[in-house]
Symmetry: C2
Subunit: 146 residues, 2 copies
């Protein structure tokens, strides 16, 4: 799990669409402006999120983006996994990396697994509906601000 600008932008964008769930499609322009994201970068991000099944789009005039599912059905865990990669903080879990000589005897592995479990537990308890509610509670609601 690595929260880069791109994953940060992805999360903010899904939250924005969750806030506007049930309304008209939201344009890239609006999303970009509200979350202060470079518009051409956001285009690519939205295409990714579409491929991931998190958002849908409408083309043409009065087109825009919509959340693909109800915010209560979108878990933070699945989104984070998609936009920020596997939760594990450690290289040795990744298939691309060389294996340890004897990974089963690595005393650090248990640590990384415990951190992963703790992280998953926190993420799995949260849906975007929860985040929308939390966001509405923060007076002013930062997503709308200029």
């Amino acid at each position: 799990m690595k929260i880069t600008y791109k994953s940060d932008y992805s999360l903010k964008t899904i939250l924005d669409l969750a806030i506007h769930f049930g309304e008209e499609p939201v344009t890239i322009h609006e999303l970009a402006k509200r979350s202060d994201i470079p518009i051409k970068f956001l285009e690519q991000i939205l295409l990714d999120l579409k491929r991931g099944g998190f958002v849908e789009s409408r083309r043409g005039k009065i087109g825009g983006y919509l959340l693909a599912k109800h915010p209560s059905k979108i878990g933070l865990s699945e989104v984070v996994s998609f936009v920020a990669g596997p939760i594990e903080p450690i290289a040795c879990v990744d298939k691309k990396y060389r294996r340890c000589r004897d990974i089963d005897k690595c005393v650090f592995r248990d640590i990384w697994q415990r951190i992963t479990s703790a992280t998953e537990k926190i993420l799995e308890e949260v849906t975007f509906e929860d985040l929308v509610k939390k966001s509405r509670k923060s007076q002013g609601n930062f997503v709308y601000q200029i």
Copy 2:
């Protein structure tokens, strides 16, 4: 926190020195061979660890490296912070990154902070003495294997 090869090598090296605490200095050559680390890369890593105050060196013939403190006084948390950067998984915590428009209203921030706390809790409970004991329990002790 990002566990790269370099941080992985650093942890393994400190563990190796912890296992040999109280004995003669361990040479870079031995460390490199036992943990399968490119020797020239390990040289740099050891200089970093020295600057970090984790290890000491003896130059000249029969020189080598030693742990600077007793393994029970070296916490996994401090080592990980040193070799893998701040525990936080998120860009916005880093001073170098642009601030959110209104970071106090960011609904994700609380999530990253909870993950950070959970991670710190796990790391803070472990010292290298613990890891040495755990390592000795794994029969064969991978650090010694060819």
